[in-house]
């Protein structure tokens, strides 16, 4: 048996909105090995984000099971799921989801605060990651005062500041120019080389090249899984 860090079996998700039902995922299988960098691609609306949210335990599937370190997660309590997100996962939202009332530095510090890291250590780590993503000069700005590109980098900084075991990134370069996008991808692969497993949703072929493997999603189903040729 393979040593999968994260595995999804028969995953499906149906959204109910009033009388409207949207089937976003049908019977999807997915597996992530420790240290793997996987890209999820597919046309808009095919269910990429949905899959990512489910894998990151941010939403509950309508059917199927997700195993994290071989443990089924469907029976876990809300608190246990939160605990996994808190200590093992990092997430970059497609629309960043920064807290408007908090400054850039405060936003980035959030995961560390919930991990109860002591203040000096926290400051140091936040400072480091801000420098790394070149947002240090915006530390005391509020998200709304930043351009989309900056917001995206802040979101990435927040996701990686605690060095999660798995990083989930929903189109992390979507708002960046190609130069910045490249820098971010290089950062991600560096993190990956240091041992972080990454699941990334992306449109861009450029970005897919950085991944070990690309999963192609169409209309809620996985249509192909391709090992990247570059590596």
């Amino acid at each position: 048996m393979m040593n999968y860090l994260l595995r999804a079996v028969n995953l499906s998700k149906v959204y109910h909105n009033g009388n409207v039902q949207t089937i976003a995922l049908r019977q999807v299988h997915f597996a992530l090995q420790e240290g793997e960098f996987v890209a999820i691609t597919g046309p808009s609306g095919c269910g990429k984000s949905t899959l990512l949210h489910l894998l990151a335990l941010m939403d509950k599937p309508t059917g199927g099971e997700i195993y994290f370190m071989h443990q089924p997660t469907s029976g876990l309590s809300d608190k246990q799921r939160a605990q996994i997100r808190r200590y093992h996962f990092g997430f970059v939202f497609q629309n960043f989801n920064l807290i408007e009332e908090l400054t850039v530095a405060e936003n980035i510090a959030l995961p560390l605060i919930y991990q109860r890291l002591p203040e000096p250590e926290r400051k140091h780590k936040v400072w480091q990651v801000m420098e790394r993503l070149d947002v240090l000069h915006k530390a005391n700005f509020y998200p709304m005062q930043l351009s989309g590109g900056y917001q995206q980098r802040v979101a990435i900084a927040r996701a990686i500041v605690a060095r999660p075991q798995i990083l989930f990134a929903d189109e992390p370069t979507g708002n960046l120019d190609s130069q910045r996008g490249l820098e971010v991808m290089e950062l991600l692969s560096e993190l990956n080389q240091q041992g972080m497993s990454i699941v990334m949703v992306t449109h861009s072929q450029q970005c897919v090249k950085f991944a070990h493997r690309a999963v192609h999603l169409f209309d809620g189903q996985i249509v192909s899984s391709v090992i990247s040729h570059l590596r």
Partner: protein
């Protein structure tokens, strides 16, 4: 118009969708309006006393202060001859004078055939009564009705009570079994806001047939409430200036130096007068201020509430409003439509509030416990005023939410959003702080007034008020047969002891003149009593002895109060030779050790009294007054008739029913023509604190309402805030915050705001309540537990209001939280 219609469709739909909030909103405002209206009714009631008299500006009462070094009395009434003499001597200053007299008796016996009543609202008045005051005759002639002896005017309800539906005019009532009173007029019921409240007014000249006529030229006894109508040309100062000469000229020489007369405006009597022998219990201007303040506060709370809940409801509409705007409603229109909606809702709430007031109004009483009978509908001006005020309040409280909603536009949604967010937060917190500060204040008032009332009603008075039954006997046949009455009662086994007294101990007292070597002639608070007084009331004797009856022994068989007969057996007739004083008197006289007081002279004009005993200080009047020097004087047989107004009977424990039956039996055997009028001393004394009782009741209700309203508001605002912070909460959940952390954080943030209001209010409450307590010479101390209890309960209740909403956080996954509203 088209847009307005569209708006209404939209608003109605939105109200129905948010039923709970709409309901809470209307209920909150209507309860607030109802409470405000009740307080306002009380306020009006208390401030409008006696304003129906036509010449109110010139109408004064004459009061008499008899004091020496602060000891004595300030009476609302004056001697018989004072009024007429004053009018005769100063005709250019005083146009009219009228006196009211009721024997200073709690009730007077009136009968018609078999109908016999002890009437409490019976006065004799000079014939000028109807000209001086604004009371209206329905039947009879105002100029003649009270001119002849043996005339009486009565109110319609009294007429009905005695004569049923037959014509009252010309009918003859019997006063005190002897004197005939012919009904010469029917007078309209006195307005409920009158400090003179009567059922009967009999002609003053009737008194000339009675023994009391002897007092007509007496300048010492002061039982007549005397009112004067000043000449419009005369100022009260001019009259005041005449008083010293007048006193000098007419009052007896030894009394004159102690006497000061005052003019008291009739319009100020109800709120400002608290003298000895008031004609009836008055209000108190301090409570009027308190009601006014409470009224404003409760209105403020409900307006804030309305704002909070409307804002909460508005937030639920944001999305639809953006759509509505796209339909072509302008920003300005939107703003006005919202105000219109707020005004409509508040008018509806006011109507509901008025209905509530109408429902509770039969149960409303004023400060003295009299029914308010006030219908909102009967106060037309007030009705209009409150209606207007309510609608204004609705509009004012609608402004913020209307502005909030109107400001949303797709374009500027993010621009300036942050600023508004912070501003809105500060504004909301301010509103919360105001609301909860008021609630806390009411809460403190409730606890403090409750504790103080409890203290007043249960304080050790220094005498027994339990098991004691009081029988008013003034003017009845019992006075003449008192020894027999007592004898027969004592024979009954349920009865422990019997005594007589001239006032109700613990409620009122008289002032009598005593001569001492130290102070000469002076008036002292005192009471004339019968034998066994000390024993019946179980007053502690410090040194000396109780009064002894002529046989040389206490009149009762048991000798349980430690008579030191050997030392004091030279007092052979205590009726003329003995008084008992309290410790305060010993101090006032400078006698030092109470033992030194024994044998000192403290004599009446007619006697040779010396001090035979000193008792521990006891509260011979209400705890509103400090204990003063006090003399207990034993009545002689010859003066029994004027001094014995009450018989006090102590009943043995657990035999109350048998004791009461015995009293009725003995009374009926000796005085069959008149029913007895019995009351329990404790009940009477509890009524001394009716204002405090009412204040406590009122603050209890208002606290309940204020806390309820504040919590309704908090419920609304917390749901609004959580709604607004949905995104933030979702993000935190995604990052790994536990639900309990988020719930805790939300609850904590609200409770911190409320804790701030508690901390702000505690010292204010402390100051205000110490101020209130300063009215009482005997009072509780303000301990920390009062504030802890009030603060603790408010925190607890508000936590309940927030927790429900906060728990919404736990219902959804992070993505659900981020994606949708609740």
């Amino acid at each position: 118009m088209q847009t307005l219609q569209e708006w209404f469709k939209f608003a109605l739909g939105s109200l129905l969708r948010n039923r709970l909030y709409a309901l809470l909103n209307i209920v909150g405002l209507s309860v607030g309006i109802a409470a405000f209206t009740v307080l306002f009714l009380l306020f009006i009631h208390e401030t409008q006393y006696d304003n129906f008299h036509p010449h109110l500006r010139y109408l004064y009462r004459i009061t008499e202060e008899i004091k020496q070094s602060g000891i004595g009395e300030h009476a609302a009434s004056v001697p018989f001859p004072l009024g007429p003499t004053l009018a005769a001597e100063y005709p250019h200053l005083i146009k009219r004078v009228t006196r009211l007299f009721n024997f200073q008796s709690p009730s007077l016996a009136v009968s018609y055939g078999q109908k016999k009543f002890n009437e409490q609202r019976f006065f004799f008045a000079d014939s000028s009564f109807l000209q001086l005051f604004g009371f209206q005759l329905i039947e009879g002639e105002a100029s003649k009705a009270l001119s002849r002896p043996g005339s009486v005017i009565i109110t319609p309800s009294t007429a009905k009570r005695y004569f049923g539906n037959s014509k009252a005019m010309g009918k003859r009532l019997i006063f005190r079994d002897k004197f005939t009173l012919e009904v010469t007029g029917i007078v309209a019921e006195p307005p409920r806001r009158s400090h003179i409240d009567f059922d009967f007014i009999a002609s003053f000249s009737t008194l000339e047939q009675m023994p009391v006529k002897a007092a007509f030229e007496n300048w010492i006894w002061n039982p007549c409430w005397t009112y004067v109508l000043l000449d419009p040309e005369a100022s009260p100062e001019m009259v005041q200036n005449c008083f010293p000469d007048f006193v000098q000229k007419h009052f007896p020489g030894n009394l004159a130096p102690q006497v000061k007369l005052h003019l008291q405006p009739v319009r100020q009597i109800h709120l400002y007068s608290d003298l000895d022998y008031e004609i009836s219990a008055n209000g108190d201007v301090r409570y009027v201020y308190i009601f006014g303040g409470m009224a404003v506060f409760i209105l403020l709370i409900s307006v804030i509430n309305f704002t909070n809940l409307s804002t909460a409801m508005a937030s639920a509409r944001v999305r639809s409003v953006v759509i509505i705007k796209a339909m072509g409603i302008s920003r300005g229109e939107l703003f006005y439509f919202h105000l219109l909606e707020a005004a409509l809702m508040s008018s509806f709430a006011i109507l509901v509030g008025f209905v509530m007031v109408e429902i509770v109004s039969p149960f409303l009483t004023d400060l003295s416990g009299n029914p308010l009978q006030g219908s909102v509908l009967s106060e037309k001006n007030m009705l209009a005023g409150i209606l207007l005020a309510g609608i204004c309040a609705g509009i004012i409280s609608g402004i913020y939410p209307a502005y909030y909603l109107a400001s949303f536009e797709i374009g500027n949604f993010y621009q300036g959003h942050l600023q508004q967010l912070h501003l809105g937060k500060r504004f909301r917190n301010l509103l919360l702080i105001v609301q909860f500060s008021i609630s806390m204040l009411f809460f403190i008032a409730m606890l403090v007034s409750g504790k103080q009332l409890d203290f007043l009603q249960n304080a050790k008075l220094g005498f027994d008020k339990e098991q004691v039954v009081v029988v008013p006997v003034a003017g009845s046949r019992i006075v003449q047969v008192y020894p027999e009455f007592k004898e027969k009662l004592q024979r009954h086994e349920a009865i422990a002891s019997v005594t007589a007294m001239e006032e109700v101990l613990g409620k009122s007292y008289q002032t009598h003149e005593f001569y001492s070597q130290e102070k000469g002639n002076q008036f002292y608070p005192s009471i004339v009593v019968g034998h066994d007084f000390i024993r019946t009331f179980n007053i502690e004797i410090l040194v000396g002895r109780d009064f002894i009856s002529r046989s040389g022994k206490p009149s009762s068989s048991e000798n349980d109060f430690g008579v030191v007969e050997d030392m004091f057996n030279y007092f052979d007739e205590d009726e003329h030779n003995a008084v008992i004083i309290n410790q305060a008197m010993v101090e006032y006289m400078g006698w030092g050790n109470p033992l030194n007081a024994i044998g000192k002279t403290l004599s009446r004009k007619t006697g040779n009294e010396k001090v035979v005993g000193v008792v521990k200080n006891f509260h011979f009047s209400s705890l509103h007054k400090q204990v003063a020097p006090f003399v207990i004087d034993l009545a002689g047989d010859n003066i029994h008739r004027t001094y014995i107004k009450y018989v006090a009977v102590k009943i043995k424990p657990d035999q109350i029913a048998a004791g009461l039956k015995a009293i009725h039996q003995v009374w009926n055997a000796l005085n069959p023509s008149q029913p007895p009028d019995i009351f329990f001393l404790k009940e009477k004394l509890d009524k001394l604190y009716i204002k405090e009782e009412r204040f406590k009741q009122l603050s209890t209700w208002l606290t309940a309402i204020a806390v309820l309203l504040a919590c309704i508001g908090l419920f609304g605002i917390s749901s609004f805030v959580i709604q607004q912070r949905r995104r933030e909460i979702g993000i935190r959940k995604a990052i790994g915050a536990y639900d309990y952390q988020l719930v805790g954080q939300i609850v904590f943030e609200f409770l911190a705001t409320i804790a701030i209001s508690i901390f702000i209010t505690a010292p204010i409450g402390y100051l205000l309540m110490s101020n209130w307590l300063n009215m009482f010479p005997y009072r509780i101390s303000l301990t920390a537990d009062i504030f802890l209890i009030a603060g603790g309960i408010i925190i607890l209740v508000s936590a309940l209001a927030v927790v429900h909403n906060a728990f919404q956080v736990t219902r959804f996954t992070p993505m659900e939280t981020l994606a949708q509203g609740w």
